[in-house]
Amino acid sequence: MDPAAPPLRLTFGAPHARPGTAPDFSDFPVPEAGAMRRPPVDTPAEEMRDLAFGMIRILDDAGEARGPWAEALALDDAAQLEGLRHMLTLRAYDARMLLAQRQQKTSFYMQHLGEEAISCAFQRALRPGDMNFPTYRQAGLLIASGYPIGTMMCQVYGNDGDPGRGRQLPVLYSSKAHGFFSISGNLGTQYIQAVGWAMGSALSGAEAIAAAWIGDGSTAESDFHAALVFASSYRVPVILNIVNNQWAISTYQEVARGSVGTFAARGHGFGIPALRVDGNDYLAVVAAARWAAERARRNLGPTLIEHVTYRAAGHSTSDDPSAYRPSDEGASWPLGDPVARLRDHLIARGVWSAERHAQAEAEILAGVIEAQKQAEAIGTLHQGRRPSPAEMFDDVYAEMPPHLRRQRQQAGF
């Protein structure tokens, strides 16, 4: 017994604020836009560790694009306007589906509010044939790759227009043609699958790269580790995305992150270069994604990207965040709103205006509502044309084995 030693104790990470206290992001450092250097993509990992501790930001408070990442990006106006449109579409879609769930047209829904930039922008770095392994909060990848939102709605309703035949929980979309791998309801599992997919591409002499996605909380899962081990071992052409939206249901990101400063730093244990990017900055996300994609395509190995953002809505329609965080916390989130930031940038550059924005919002909402009408004309969870329950027995195997045929018969089909 050491008389000098204090009693042992554990540390329990806690959020800045809980209900009943004022939101507080004062210890959340927000680096200046444009300040982060942009090393060449083939810089050795150990010479760019600083990138995991700062933050790549392009858009400043005045809506101006700044710094070396902005210069290298050079995204033209049309692309930026398209990006804005993607984000607005996702936001309108979310609003309608949230409502549809409240109207019991579906069982469950998950919003992207505040995180729209990440998936909408990232898709821009990919090419046809590349494959995302998304989580449930990256529907922007689908929208930005031109997937019909009507079909997304059919998935949410599980109606006869759902390509997945109503088998999966709402929002767990899948589209091979759009580079969107079927989402699993299990956290983390697809991170290593993305690595395996990219290995398969490289082993096949193909050109496609993969992008893995995971939430801040889910980095604690084992699959995350396996992915980093394999990606590092074989120098796999994959982009390893972490979406740090500060919360994992009711659990603050610090519980998963531990005593390290950032999630991006996780890459350093494996010699994987890591970027930390302002996830509410559409341009910064495109810039970081392209840098990482170039590394993958040039056989320079994996890149890890931590996208820093804030989950402005509840975790899902089953969640009420006011039980565990101040309800006005989102308003004081220091990285702002991704839609507003890109909008203001475009207005500042004179290619957009408040009026055109309002008009675009209305148009997009009308389009979403129109798609919704068509989807609902097919059916919703409890009404209209739904996949026949007989289909429940299909696709368990390529060919239905005898015992399933017997069971289908017993079930009356």
Partner: protein
Amino acid sequence: MATMTMIEAIRDALDLALTEDSRVTLFGEDVGYFGGVFRCTAGLQQKHGVARCFDTPISELGIVGAAIGMAAFGRRPVVEIQFADYMYPAYDQIVSEAARMRYRTAGEFTCPLVVRMPTGGGIFGGQTHSQSTEALFTHVTGLKTVVPSTPYDAKGLLLAAIDDPDPVIFLEPKRLYNGPFDGHHDRPVTPWRGHPLAEVPKGRYHLPLGQAAIRRAGTQLTVLAYGTMVHVALAAVAETGIDAEVIDLRTLLPLDLETITTSVRRTGRCVIVHEATLTSGFGAELAAQVQAECFWHLEAPVERVAGWDTPYPHTAEWDYFPGPARVAAACRRVMET
């Protein structure tokens, strides 16, 4: 005596355990400040402090692995896996480590650990919020597997599980959390309030692990069920008018074979009901034991009603879920033989 929902009964048991045994520690995803996505631990961190009830990173392996170490130290961890569907990442720790710790050390290290997890379907949860994984535990020697079907049982069995010197898998049928669901998804749910099996005494009581309960005495047919299916079976039996004995197993391992065989030898007929997929489900073990022990008394083959051998579907949930119609049909079939 108060009536409680199953959630309240579980919370009451946990509260009591925390109060009476300083070794008890709860942790899991969102179980701390928030009190769990089903609110089974709501208020317990506030009452007992963060060191007794805390949030963990999202790693089921980590949760169970850390709990094993803690149990070996001498504490009594009671951990929550957010849904039984998410127990697979922890399966290695459960099977290879918790279950065999006492055996491989000849008792030098032990693992008094309770792993709670909401189980089963009926809430439109799709394939990852609906699974019934009990057969994956009953095949693992060294574990005990418990599935309560009432608030009263939930409290008594959970307190017994926490006091048990060995690892216990405690499966909570989420469809029963708020009411004794009878399988008719198109009728209003009965609440637990006022239900006799929801009368929960204050204070500590134990229901011994390994003892079944006869939920309905009968002479013509024995129905074996557990968890949600107990209520479905009762509804089905009522509909058929068959004088069936409905046995609620409560503990799957160790199994109360005595109660089962006594009944089947008397009735000569047996139907087994569970939600999990049929093939290699726990019903297989029950059928194998019943035919072996009651062979000369059986007047019809033992029938199993179970989830179909497909993943748990989302929109077709009620075609998948073994409801009163399917159970009743099986009972009638067995009676006709």
